[in-house]
Symmetry: C2
Subunit: 222 residues, 2 copies
DNA sequence: GATGCTAACGGCACGCAGTGCCGTTAGCAA
DNA sequence: TTGCTAACGGCACTGCGTGCCGTTAGCATC
């Protein structure tokens, strides 16, 4: 849309809806038929992506770790930005500068985050995790933040870089954080093993577990 | 302010600024001198709380874990809500219902989150953590989410319950999640020890470290 | 007590976002 | 050609937010 370019060259405040409509060659009334508001003119259709995420969650493999599924879901958001780098970068320079646009962006991120939290809550409940509601909210926020961090970095570099590679690293960090506290043991990096053990367990068994884990790299959850 | 009650009884959309001003016994122009917008009429002064948080971070003890300090910071937000339960509960029923008010609330949460992230980034950088920027964003989001979760639960129950007790539990979960992956060893619960070791280290040394940790409960970061 | 200063207030008018209403027109089918 | 439908665009209206300015209350000074 031409709106984004007008905002960039003339400023958001100085650009009226009449200007945008005129630049697009349509009437002012028609503009509001296509966009709910002046702000909406530069944002993508989040509703579609939200539906895609919901569908992905419905069809998700329950054997996969919940947080990993959530990461897969939020990756759809990332992809929607990656699919049109030019517009995404332009929009980013606006959302950094113009407060109402930034707020709008933040609000849409919150919508994604709610969908993630809802899915996670369901999974945590069936998994019998303690405090499923809290865990879901926190994990959803962490996943969304990781995604946003990658996205922003990618946008700052003008759409170069391999965003998915960055995202994998970022999601790894989040998944580890939230499976380390709830699960037994998980590899943090290739050369590292994390063991969580009860100190009341016999020392011999502890040592045995540790050494086998170090040797094979396998995960062992009692 | 009388605005919040007007919104509740007549609806946000149906209440004009003239109505609020008339109810408050002041001129319409005066209303806009005290509140930047119609929405702002029901929100507290976040700027003060933000300054308090910044000050707390400036004076913070660097020996404390960064995420714990961030939790202490966001607790000031919680306190600002706790200090006036009536208004907070009323506002909550509005922010749940009215989309623009909810967006405004979300935007203010984002402001807090940015302050947390900035502090955490500084700490993580000086601590030599890997990916300090990412960790800071994710941890800040998690801390904010934990706080919001507690806050919403407290608001749903009409301001009864011990919010600080809930918050302590929630923060514990977050702190554990983010210290387990980043630090050498940390007690997750009283009876648990987490050990992170390089598999390239001699097995004998590993065993020695583990057993001493299990015995004394001390933290040992090489 | 009169005079000048300052700060808050309130009225007025304006620009602009967003909406409802309605006449016009283009495209298509019978 | 006639009738139908859907998109368009003009018009007017409400309401938010702001700039401008006259008024007034409070206070210090001479």
């Amino acid at each position: 849309m031409a709106a984004i370019d007008l905002f960039l060259e003339s400023g958001y405040e100085n650009t009226t809806v009449d200007d945008i409509a005129a630049a697009a060659g349509v009437g002012r009334r028609t503009f509001f038929r296509y966009f709910r508001s002046k702000e909406d003119a530069i944002f993508p259709s989040h509703d579609e992506v939200l539906r895609d995420i919901e569908r992905l969650f419905d069809e998700a493999d329950d054997s996969q770790h919940p947080v990993e599924v959530a990461c897969a879901g939020v990756t759809l958001v990332l992809d929607s930005y990656l699919s049109d780098p030019d517009v995404s970068v332009k929009r980013y320079t606006l959302t950094r500068t113009v407060a109402p646009l930034r707020d709008k962006e933040v609000a849409s991120v919150d919508r994604y985050q709610r969908v993630l939290a809802r899915y996670l809550r369901g999974r945590f409940e069936t998994d019998g995790e303690p405090l499923p509601d809290l865990r879901a909210s926190v994990a959803a926020a962490a996943v969304a933040a990781a995604n946003n961090h990658v996205l922003r970095r990618w946008l700052r570099n003008g759409g170069t870089e391999d965003a998915h590679a960055l995202a994998d690293k970022a999601f790894r960090l989040v998944v580890d954080a939230f499976s380390a506290t709830s699960r037994g043991s998980t590899g943090a990096t290739d050369d590292t093993v994390i063991a969580v053990l009860r100190s009341s367990a016999p020392l011999a068994e502890v040592v045995q577990r540790i050494s086998s884990s170090l040797a094979t790299g396998e995960r062992d959850t009692p």
